[in-house]
């Protein structure tokens, strides 16, 4: 027995040495994300904020997204209750995913890369590697749990108690360990490392969706769900440690199963046969557009789904907007204008925010072409009858189309949930939301054009487009609070567009910006025709 794990400690120390940078980023990043938002929540909770948030979070759509709270009356909805309610599930989710990726990366991926083969040729036990990785993952998550607790306590907020903070941290850390353990099991079963990653994330996703259903219908059922054991601890309110106990037992059993499975398999092989792909290509792949749709498919789908969900999330707060925004000074400064209804002015601002996010996807797609170029994926294709014109315009048009579709999904998602949340008191119809969204389309096209210009003239500057997008986003988002001079605000491209439905549609601005965007694309095209491909360089 001992032989199987021989010299695991050497491997373990080796991993710490190899991973220390990653570990620091992991713990700091996730730690700050999980624990560091206390001041922001204090800000939100001011005045009637807690009350508004409580009402908003009772919405079944919100519960299915972020989980329930045990609090029955708005009066008991303290800062701590709100923090745990809104943050814990997602922090746990992130911890799970990161730990799962880490574990698969150090087990099956290393087997595939041939590292394990080398390591096993030394006096190292057959299961020493898995054990070392498991210990590393547990250790990292314990440190993570302590860091989160420490960060939360350090803010000294009234209702953020020490016990609650430790429970919050421990819940996130436990979620990470759960993720690691599931990944360890799947790494034994699946035929390849990518299948192990995929199935682990699939399981996490499935558990999340199942709990969305049970949270809304009957929370008790969520307690059967391993994911439930992380966020149903209710820190700062009920401080229930019991679910973590279930999780520990579950992890121990799962780890034993994983080791038993590993003992019975060959290196580089799993228990399931490798799934066969297609031997020949479908007709839909066999063209330049077909290829680019295919290689961008995953990224397009996930972003588009995210836009719809984001729209729906913002839409769900329309019902209680008065309580939510009216009482919070910062919020009302950002989102309200005198003379128009709060819903309308909120729509104007939030649409601008969402269209900033929608602009990311076209940039991603345009930059994908230069990444493909640099990776040498296109080398052999250059010698075919495929032209640079086809490559360029396929990419730019695909990017623009995703912008159009993304706008529809974001605006539609917002409008759909907003209208149902407002019920009869609705002051806007679906058309208003869609129009407010497409009003910003020129700004989406402008970022597409900017990315296209970089692609054609200086592909290495492709990332700069993100920087400008981030800059304009921040400027617009906080513009209302900061009281900036006119010329300064105008450096953000969206500020040239009036905010519907509060302001009137400006046809001239719309047309001019669209023309400028198309001009940028054409300029980029001319550069793309002339320049050397940067393949492999």
């Amino acid at each position: 027995m001992k032989e199987k794990f021989a010299r695991w400690s050497t491997l373990f120390l080796q991993y710490l040495k190899r991973d220390w940078k990653k570990i620091i980023i992991w713990i700091l990043g996730l730690g700050l994300f999980s624990g560091g938002f206390v001041p922001a929540f204090e800000e939100i909770g001011k005045g009637q904020g807690l009350l508004g948030m409580y009402e908003t979070m009772q919405n079944p759509a919100m519960i299915s997204m972020i989980g329930p709270t045990p609090v029955d009356t708005a009066a008991d909805y303290t800062l701590g209750a709100m923090y745990a309610n809104e943050m814990l599930l997602f922090c746990g989710l992130f911890a799970m995913i990161i730990a799962a990726l880490h574990v698969v990366g150090h087990t099956r991926r290393e087997e595939e890369h041939g590292l394990t083969e080398l390591v096993r040729s030394f006096r190292v036990g057959r299961q020493a590697n898995s054990f070392a990785v498991a210990v590393e993952a547990v250790l990292i998550n314990i440190v993570l749990a302590l860091s989160i607790s420490g960060i939360m306590v350090s803010f000294g907020a009234d209702t953020i108690s020490a016990e609650g903070s430790f429970l919050f941290g421990a819940s996130v850390g436990m979620a990470g360990i759960l993720g690691a353990v599931v990944a360890l099991v799947m790494s034994q079963i699946m035929p390849t490392s990518s299948a192990a990653t995929g199935s682990t994330l699939g399981i996490v996703g499935l558990l999340y969706i199942v709990r969305a259903g049970t949270d809304v219908s009957n929370v008790d059922l969520s307690m059967i769900n391993p994911m439930g054991w992380t966020y149903l601890t209710y820190p700062f309110t009920e401080n229930n440690w019991a679910p973590l106990g279930f999780a520990v037992v579950f992890c121990c059993v799962a780890v034993m199963i994983a080791f038993a499975l590993e003992g019975g398999r060959d290196m580089g092989a799993g228990y399931l046969p490798e799934r066969e792909g297609r031997g020949t290509a479908k007709k839909s792949l066999l063209s330049v557009p077909g290829l680019f749709i295919r290689i961008n498919r995953g990224v397009m789908l996930s972003w588009l789904i995210a836009f719809a969900i984001l729209g729906a999330a913002y839409g769900s707060i329309y019902g209680d907007m008065q309580t939510f925004l009216g009482s919070n000074e910062m919020m009302s400064q950002m989102f309200t204008l005198s003379g128009v209804s709060m819903e309308e002015s909120f729509t104007g601002t939030i649409m601008m925010v969402m269209m900033g996010l929608v602009s990311i996807l076209p940039i991603v797609i345009v930059n994908k072409l230069s990444a493909e170029e640099a990776r040498g994926h296109l080398s052999q294709l250059y010698s075919t009858k495929m032209t640079r014109t086809q490559l360029y315009w396929t990419t730019v048009i695909l990017a623009a189309v995703t912008g159009v579709v993304g706008t529809l999904l974001a605006a539609g998602g917002l409008g759909g949930t907003a209208i149902s949340a407002m019920g009869d008191s609705s002051v806007m119809d679906m058309g208003d939301f869609i129009a407010a969204g497409y009003n910003f389309l020129p700004s989406v096209l402008f970022f597409t054009g900017l990315a296209a210009l970089a692609l054609g003239l200086a592909p290495r500057l492709g990332k700069v487009t993100y920087v400008y997008l981030g800059y304009s986003f921040v400027l617009n988002y906080f513009g209302g609070i900061l009281d900036l001079p006119e010329w300064f605000s105008k450096t953000a491209v969206q500020s040239w567009i009036p905010r519907m439905p509060v302001d009137e549609f400006d046809g001239a601005a719309f047309a001019i910006m669209t023309v400028i965007s198309i001009a940028l694309m054409i300029l980029g095209y001319l550069g793309y025709l002339k320049r050397d491909m940067m393949e492999g360089a």
């Binding site: 297609r278 052999q380 010698s383």
Partner: protein, 293 residues
């Protein structure tokens, strides 16, 4: 003979670095031209210029009598190319990628494709991210060989292939050659070039330093002779055309200038020859001679 590739005084700069100074060679129809040189000599840069992936800074480069940059599309209809490092989309299977390449080239042959997949023993149903380097290379080769072209450009095509598959590749190249097509074969594996090439172009630091048939090149250099005699072999050291003379007892190993080979033989006969072996220089010897410092 029809000229397929004609390169004259080709130059290319990357910023301040001059990658190609003066590259000049031709490839005729029905000819296999070996393009050899160490890493960084400019082989791939030359090939990329020929494919219109990068634009030249000077000189002339024509394929089928057309300019490689301006008329690249016309040219691409009739050429096939395999890069030295075939990079593939991990999410697509080998079969899908082969089909895509064939389709984008145009004029593929379904039967040829299936035949080549079998010959190269490729599993086309696997996602390409699980392919080894050799298997990725096979995908590129199968796609390039399945289409009918007049000129084939291979940039280190067999890197990562095992010797069996190398032999399959050489076999297929042999067939193309029989069919009267032209091939530009850049390679590190000199035995491969030696077997396949009619002509060799040696490039060094962006300049073509030697061109000719293997026989012509061999003539310029020396054979390695092993000689065992009854009498003392020491005297051979001073014969004209003998170089690098080494002696162990009655055995001598030296390199001999081919033009003095008769003089050397006559001198050796006087010593009562027991063994005489002359090995012609391999391409490797030729290659090394050019790069010796």
């Amino acid at each position: 003979m029809e000229e397929m590739i004609r390169v004259k005084g080709l130059q290319k700069k990357f910023g301040k670095f001059k990658a190609l100074h003066d590259v000049t060679f031709t490839v005729n129809a029905g000819e296999v031209v070996g393009f050899i040189g160490p890493n960084g000599a400019g082989k791939s840069t030359t090939i990329r210029t020929l494919l219109g992936i990068i634009d030249r800074d000077g000189g002339e480069a024509k394929i089928f009598g057309k300019d490689v940059w301006k008329d690249s599309l016309e040219i691409h209809k009739r050429i096939s190319y395999v890069p030295g490092d075939v990079a593939l989309w991990g999410g697509l299977t080998g079969g899908e990628i082969i089909d895509l390449f064939i389709k984008l080239h145009g004029g593929g042959d379904r039967e040829k494709r299936d035949y080549l997949i079998k010959r190269f023993e490729l599993d086309p149903k696997k996602k390409s991210k699980s392919y080894s380097k050799g298997n990725r290379q096979k995908v590129g080769l199968i796609a390039a060989l399945s289409v009918d072209s007049d000129l084939y450009i291979f940039d280190e095509p067999t890197s990562g292939l095992d010797p069996l598959m190398e032999a399959v590749f050489q076999d297929e190249v042999e067939k193309i050659k029989q069919a009267g097509k032209a091939i530009l074969l850049s390679s590190h594996i000199l035995s491969e070039v030696e077997r396949l090439a009619d002509k060799v172009v040696i490039i060094r630091q962006g300049k073509v330093v030697e061109t000719g048939t293997l026989d012509e090149l061999r003539h310029l250099t020396r054979s390695t002779v092993t000689l065992v005699t009854e009498g003392s072999v020491a005297g051979m050291a001073s014969v004209n055309g003998v170089h690098d003379f080494k002696q162990i007892g009655n055995q001598a190993i030296f390199s001999a200038d081919n033009k003095y080979i008769n003089d050397i033989l006559s001198e050796a006969v006087k010593l009562d020859v027991k063994k005489f072996e002359a090995v012609p220089p391999t391409l490797e010897d030729l290659f090394m001679r050019h790069y010796e410092v």
